[in-house]
């Protein structure tokens, strides 16, 4: 009896393991056939007709390209909604390409890097924060899309003259404000100098409106104070990379010190949230929409989100931050994520066709509130028109020098976190001294 039981157990185990391995091999077969097929079809078409079809996907007509591609996106909110509509329009042009969307986790960058380490990249994705010299290891060159002369930030994700990433959209940053709140406080004209800006804040504060929602606690909303304002104050696009040549990159009288002092001044005068260590991003959007908070200093992408939080588009205005009293306005132009096509993708051509379509025809930039990645294409957003009407100069940024990034990482320097320290510290100079020391040490250790 017992023996029978044992043999029964064994038989069951055998059956299970067999069926499991069976499943495995089945899967493999499926995967293999699914990936083989499109390659085969493109091959036959290639030999039958145009041999250069594979190198010039843009020139080929839509039906020639087929295959299934996956796009790892950070806009999880668009999956099943706008993306479905995009795919429909995309398939009118490219009926044989099947596009699937994969929702990223909250930290796109981190997730993308994990996938890079495992070699399982989606066909279309955004470039995570890696040095440009690593781009050719993972991504396919996009020079054959024929977009090289038309796009902005062409050199940003290029390496040795080859283009690996194209911006999904550009943004500028400035003051996004609730027009009704401004009117209620008696502000008739948008401030053009820092003193006018402070006066406007005072009026808002007197009305019981929080002048500027900094979202200080969440740290990322401070990024523009750190990455954009210093370089426009210095009027030098490459200013962040100047750090490479000094042991004291942070001083009170350079771009960093001046920019950080602006935020510190706003906090000292009580123009930010009542408790800047307890802010709530989602709530702040509703409060701006409702006029309880008056302004954000953020990228133009936030405009649509404020409108979505419960106000009308004509109640939201946008003007450049007047960082000094000269009356001359400069604002940064910065790229958002960059599209890239995985080098090892099974359907590189299909993926490239999709990227090109997203840039030229999807209308994603208007939906997301970006300035078009294509040079000179006018925005449909009224706020961006208002912004441009102030006569502002837009300063294109430059890519980070990998050496600067390396030193920053080595010194464990998180500049937005340093700005938080700077604003909260009793003596801001001590914060700069501490990080200058860390910077100098890291720079020396790395031998730069």
């Amino acid at each position: 009896m017992r023996n029978k039981l044992f043999s029964l157990c064994f038989v069951i185990i055998m059956i299970f393991s067999l069926s499991l391995t069976g499943c495995g091999s089945n899967n493999n077969n499926n995967a293999a056939s699914a990936t083989d097929k499109p390659a085969a079809t493109t091959d036959t078409e290639g030999t039958g007709g145009n041999a250069s079809a594979t190198t010039e996907p843009a020139a080929a007509s839509g039906t020639d390209i087929s295959g299934k591609i996956t796009f790892l996106t950070n806009r999880t909110d668009m999956i099943g909604k706008e993306y479905d509509e995009y795919v429909k329009r995309f398939n009118e042009k490219y009926p044989n390409i099947k596009v699937e969307f994969e929702a990223s986790q909250t930290d796109y960058n981190q997730q993308a890097k994990v996938r890079m380490a495992s070699g399982e990249l989606p066909d279309v994705m955004f470039v995570p924060s890696i040095p440009n010299s690593d781009l050719p290891k993972y991504f396919a060159s996009l020079d054959d899309l024929g977009l090289n002369d038309k796009i902005t930030f062409k050199d940003f994700k290029s390496y040795e003259g080859k283009l690996y990433g194209i911006t999904t959209g550009n943004s500028t940053s400035g003051i996004v404000y609730n027009k009704k709140a401004f009117a209620d406080a008696g502000i008739t004209e948008v401030p053009k100098t820092w003193d006018e800006f402070l006066a406007a804040c005072e009026k808002l504060k007197a009305k019981g409106i929080v002048p500027l929602a900094s979202n200080f606690k969440d740290k990322w909303p401070l990024n523009d104070w750190v990455f954009a304002v210093p370089r426009i104050i210095e009027n030098k696009a490459d200013f962040p990379n100047d750090k490479l040549n000094t042991d004291t990159p942070f001083t009170m009288d350079n771009g960093y010190g001046k920019s950080f002092s602006l935020l510190r001044e706003l906090n000292e005068k009580g123009y930010l949230e009542k408790d800047i260590n307890s802010t709530n991003w989602e709530q702040s959007k509703k409060d701006i929409a409702a006029g309880k908070f008056a302004m954000y200093f953020l990228g133009n992408w936030v405009i649509n989100q404020v409108v979505g939080a419960g106000t009308t588009s004509d109640n939201v205005g946008f003007f450049p931050l007047p960082y000094d009293n000269s009356g001359k306005l400069t604002a940064p132009l910065s790229p958002d994520f960059f599209y890239a096509v995985a080098k090892d993708s099974k359907n590189v051509d299909a993926a490239k066709a999709f990227v090109k379509w997203m840039i030229e025809e999807s209308g994603y930039e208007d939906f997301a509130g970006f300035i078009s990645p294509l040079k000179g294409k006018e925005s449909k957003l009224p706020q961006l028109k208002e912004f441009q009407a102030t006569g502002v100069t837009l300063q294109e940024g430059t890519p980070d020098d990998p050496k600067v990034t390396e030193i920053t990482n080595k010194a464990q320097l998180d500049i937005p976190a340093m700005l938080q320290e700077f604003v909260l510290a009793k003596d801001p100079q001590t914060v700069f001294d501490k990080w200058n020391k860390a910077w100098a040490k890291a720079k020396k250790d790395l031998g730069y």
Partner: protein, 297 residues
Amino acid sequence: MLGTLSYSKQKTIIIVSFLLIPLLLLATFTYYPALKLIYYSFTNWDGYSPEKPWVGLDNYREVFSNPDIFKVFIHNFAYFVMGIVQNVVAIYFAVVLNSKLRGRNGFRIMLFLPYIMNGVAVAFMFGYVFDTTNGSLNLFLDSIGLHHLAQTSWLGTEGLVNYSLASTGFWRFMGYNMVIYIASLQAIPRDIYEAAKIDGAGSFQTLWRVTLPNMKAVIQLNLFLTVTGALEVFDLPFVLTKGGPAGASQTYVQRVVETAFAYNNYGLASAMSIILLFFVVIVLLVQQLVLNRGGDK
């Protein structure tokens, strides 16, 4: 087909075949990554590139030469203090809810429920509780007349933030400790209590001389969980404060995560993790030594 094997051989086969899968899973998801971690701690891998340059003990040297890294353990102290309070309260509730109390199962469930909830969800929820201007805690304090206290920035005051965060942990894990204590209380033989009663012991004497000594092993276990929990806390400050204000609530594990994912230094982060592992072991040894001074029961 097994009939010809001896009984002991059959036993071995059965034991092996049943243990194989769990051990395989354990090896794949615990020991293999742990070994990899040790290996990475000797490299300066950036987290994604195929090359993993060997640097020997450099990472360990860097950790020990940077006093900033160990300073964050001061923040963990708050969690330790709260953990002790948590255990005392858990024992109290365990004793109360182990007596014949009407509706005790209902109370047990209520106290245990927070433990089941997802840690990040709890943290997110407490974000609304601790909010300075619109938070429910400050609104409550204001409504009972404590207007001054209602202005407190629970997550924005340097000395307070860690205790605010730790109290969330208290709310969440107290029930879990309590359930373990209840189980151990029920394992104490009734006749000891009877004997104590006959000898004329009061309820406090019973608790001090009978209940607590019998629970010693379980108290040790719970303290172990508390201490490791305090050393490894991560999710609460990560979600609620991001280590702020100005790094006042940054914990060691959070620093490790930042080192790996924000500064692309997996090698150093791995070394920091290994050091934390040794730290936990040392703290446990000290705890064993202190608690076992009186001999083994």
